[in-house]
Amino acid sequence: MSEKRTCLYDRHVALGAKMVPFGGFEMPIQYTDITSEHQAVRGACGVFDVSHMGEVLVTGPEAERFVQYIFTNDISGAPVGKIFYGMMLHPHGGTIDDLLVYKMGEEKFFLVINAANIDKDYAWISQQAEAFDVTTENQSDYYGQLAVQGPEAEKVTEEVLGLACQELAFYTFKLIEVEGETLIVSRTGYTGEDGFEIYGSHAYIQAAWDKLIDSGRAKPCGLGCRDTLRFEVGLPLYGDELTDEISPIMAGLGMFVKLDKAEFIGKEAVAKQKAEGVAKKIIGIELEGRAIPRHGYEVVADDKVIGEVTTGYCSISTGKSVCMALVDAAYAKLDTPVQVRIHRKLQPGKVVKKRFYDKHYKQ
């Protein structure tokens, strides 16, 4: 299978990035090393090429009613400029994708979806849209996207890119006119730090990337540290902590599922899970030693396999070996002793909160 390339591909190669396939794209996993890129985002500012993300525009008289029907969070009564995180579910409650919904107008919503799921999602959205008076448009090929992340992201975005973003609250966005096009700039990200995501044409994104790199004030950061950063603050990755089989309730993301709103796909299934409990849950585990738990490794308790690791690392910010894992719900209580099988040995640990490092968002 041949991977697609983002509009910044040549720049990644020129910077000496190690390129790997991800979500159907050839993406930079690291430019120098994951640890220093991770620390740049925690301590100063990093820039990510996230042009692989998908974008779908939903417009029409029934746009809000339609989004409410396919999305777990409640967007009713929101002001223009607000962003919501939530999921699209299968009728059985499993997750089709997790996504952001940008309210651009009373009849206009911008959906940001995962790269690996663009085709699956757009097929689903189009199919569901047939029963509504709405138009859907897959704009994924038009938009490039940068994520500028870290405690200095606001200054860098304002001063290097000249984008006025200081007044944006967390999870809001605005449209900014530049050189004959309209950018979408939001205070969002996937790192647990303050930061912005900027959507624009390929030409704009290329020029903005060059400005950021040339300024020396934003370190180019690859998907390697994007994963370690999101993992440390307990954010899920579709494919690991959310899948077609893992519902947001199982993943501990029930706060993004609003059961008190009108009908939405999967509602009945997740309402039942909330009421009766789930068989399996995503938990956090901290190990005593330094051995590193990895995706797919077995989790053991009471001499039996109770689940498997979904994501694991030696946390760069804390130095501890930690992981998220999908396990039998009976073992999900904090401080429950569990073991992870690593290189044939069972490593002792215990259940902890999934947030291994505190977020530093600007509210």
């Binding site: 996993i29 690291q30 994951i34 640890t35 390697g224 330094r290 590193i292 030696c314 690593i342 290189h343």
Partner: protein
Amino acid sequence: MEGLYYSESHEYVRVEGEFGYVGITDYAQEQLGNVVYVDMPEEGDEVEAGSEFGAVESVKAASDLLSPVSGEVVEVNAALEDEPELINQDAFANWIIKVKLADTAELDALMDAAAYREATK
């Protein structure tokens, strides 16, 4: 580095008398990036040429270690438990296990420095 024996999977063995010091090459550590954990066998374990005896791990992935020689592990490099990054600083000085060589004829199957340089060009 001259005088060492090299495997295709990028381990080296430095022979001193009846013992072999096994580690990963400078090329391997370079490819791997920051080493954050080294999984090592216990002293007294038997290793077999071509078989896994542990792993070196970067932030992102674990790479199996394959022993270039057979024999008993008489010592593990305990310094790597707390400072796995020593491998990045000097891969050839920071061996991982010391093996009592069971069969020195196994060394004939390994590459010398010139052949290894050629293989990693």
